[in-house]
């Protein structure tokens, strides 16, 4: 069953189509990967779904549980259950990990935060009172970001490049969290150009130049991406005919 649908979505910046008549369906409780080369429009798609500032003037529709999200603010989307894990999470000087993690959570108690941090391989007593600032590594920051998302118990999570800037150990913890989310029925949409991230998904969408080239089986999409996209000499000039063949 679809929880989120992108219908014939076109987004234009300065006369250039960043997303071009793209349509995607995301199934409730499944893990999806949106894969494509850099500049394909993947992050833009996530930003439109989240309704971020500068990404709200588009043609087409984004439907959440069958209702249009046009005109729905970012915070209202979040309260309805959609959230975004950023590729490079913002840092908050002076704000403790505990305060940040519980910012959007109904539960504010320390035990809950400790449990979340622990589940992501972060020793709670080391992190709870630390500031969410530049003293944290990329991997630490990314996992704290995920902890804050888990705390709000969302229904749809957009994860923009979940593996960027982190080590293998941290990535494994993120993948473990991802599997637990799926078990709980949460819908996950990963934005990626990484094969290891793609392999975590149930379904995949291949995007190039803001256009949907293919969708469906992860292995099929992965093979095509590895064979054709990584070494592609016409990045963001999609070879539609090749893939259709």
């Amino acid at each position: 069953m679809n929880i989120l649908s992108v219908c014939n979505l076109t987004l234009t910046f300065d006369g250039k189509k960043i997303l071009d008549s793209i349509s995607l369906d995301f199934w409730a409780g499944h893990v999806h990967a949106v894969i494509g080369p850099n500049g394909a429009g993947k992050s833009t798609l996530a930003n439109v779904i989240m309704g971020l500032h500068g990404y709200t003037r588009y043609d087409g529709e984004v439907l959440y549980e069958g209702c249009s999200l046009r005109g729905v603010s970012v915070d209202e989307r979040a309260r309805r259950g959609i959230t975004l894990a950023w590729q490079e999470p913002a840092r908050f000087e002076g704000l403790s990990v505990q305060r940040f993690v519980t910012a959007g959570s109904r539960r504010k108690d320390t035990a809950y935060v400790k449990e979340l941090l622990d589940s992501l391989g972060l020793e709670p007593d080391r992190y709870l009172h630390r500031s969410v600032d530049r003293t944290l590594s990329g991997g630490e920051r990314k996992r704290i970001e995920l902890a804050s998302i888990l705390a709000m118990e969302p229904r749809v999570i957009l994860m923009d490049e979940p593996d960027s800037g982190i080590d293998i150990e941290a990535l494994q913890k993120i993948f473990e969290a991802l599997r637990r989310l799926k078990d709980k029925g949460v819908t996950v949409i990963m934005i990626t150009h990484s094969m290891s991230v793609l392999e975590q998904a149930d379904h995949a969408f291949l995007i190039c130049s803001g256009t949907l080239l293919d969708k469906g089986n992860v292995k099929k999409i992965g093979r095509y991406f590895a064979d054709k996209c990584i070494s592609c000499d016409h990045i963001n000039r999609p070879a539609v005919k090749e893939i259709q063949a």
Binding site: H53, W86, P89, F92, L95
Partner: protein
């Protein structure tokens, strides 16, 4: 009111148990308006406080080599709507002594209150002196706070100070600290202030790195809303060999508020190095969008970002 009643009222105004705010082993000094209403000493700490026709002259010293485990508590306050308080403060932390002071300045009902302080502070060689000052103001903004201090931090000594005014209206603050940092000394001066309505904040902080290997940081974190204004003057002058300095000024400006930062960084020694960092503007868009995507409203997100900007350093665990 008896002195005991006044002390109780002061303690209540800062959120402490009016009858038993501290343990018996905590040194304290309480001054209400221009009256000394309470003094409790511990071994090694000396206080000579005298009421004069202009205010209160207080000489505080810590004996050589004395290490105070618990912070000394100071409370300055004016509880009525109107009043004046002037304090001449002479603080000397003698050689190799170590102490932290926790000061509360409380003006909860101020409509027309003036609090001025002229301080001379000497931190002798090898001594450590930490001073945390928290202001408790009411919602009226009728308070004028004018603290001036001249500080000398001698060889190998450390001086850390943090000024916090977060709750209530700032009113008008004219703050001036001038610190001389001698050889191998370490100085950190932080101000965290929340201004709103018609509050006016003027900070002058100067650190003169005269000694070799002296280090200093001047940190100002200010949030302004409504029509509040702030002028921040941070001067860092490095003349000592291998002296190191850093100036950090961050201000969040909302509504019709106006912020002005005037950093002066002067290096007169080729082996010295001073850095400067300033960020003035509205809340960071990335931080805001992140918190919105967690379901906070724009106002809630802004408040949380400001809370982070104005949060105290972890070291002040008792403040």
């Amino acid at each position: 009111m008896t002195q005991k009643d006044i002390v109780a009222a002061l303690m209540q105004s800062i959120g402490l148990d009016p009858h038993k705010p501290f343990g018996d082993d905590v040194a304290r000094i309480e001054i209400h308006e221009n009256r000394v209403v309470g003094v409790k000493l511990v071994a090694g700490l000396n206080v000579d406080a005298n009421e004069t026709d202009k205010g209160v002259d207080a000489v505080i010293s810590l004996d050589e080599g004395t290490h105070l485990e618990k912070p000394v508590h100071i409370c300055f306050g004016v509880l009525p709507e109107s009043g004046r308080q002037h304090i001449n403060l002479d603080i000397r932390i003698k050689q190799d002594a170590r102490a932290s002071f926790l000061a509360h300045c409380t003006f909860p009902n101020a409509v027309n209150v003036q609090h001025t302080m002229d301080a001379v502070i000497e931190v002798e060689p090898g001594a450590h002196y930490a001073y945390f000052e928290r202001h408790i103001h009411g919602s009226g903004g009728g308070v004028n706070v004018v603290p001036h201090a001249r500080v000398v931090v001698h060889e190998g000594a450390e001086f850390t100070t943090e000024f916090e005014l977060i709750k209530g209206r700032a009113g008008r603050i004219e703050f001036e600290y001038d610190t001389e940092c001698r050889a191998r000394s370490v100085v950190e001066m932080t101000a965290r202030i929340n201004g709103r309505a018609d509050d006016t904040i003027v900070l002058h902080e100067k650190a003169r790195l005269t000694g070799e290997d002296a280090r200093a940081a001047l940190i100002s974190h200010i949030a302004l809303r409504d029509r509040a204004t702030a002028e921040i003057y941070n001067d860092m002058i490095a003349t000592g060999d291998r002296a190191r300095g850093h100036v950090d000024c961050k201000e969040i400006v909302l509504g019709q508020a106006v912020a002005r930062a005037v950093p002066v960084v002067e290096v007169r020694n080729p082996t010295a190095h001073v850095t400067h960092e300033a960020a003035i503007g509205s809340v960071d868009s990335r931080q805001l969008q992140t918190l919105l995507s967690r379901g906070l409203t724009e106002d809630e997100a802004t408040d949380l970002i400001i809370e982070g900007l104005l949060s105290k350093k972890a070291r002040w665990t008792d403040a």
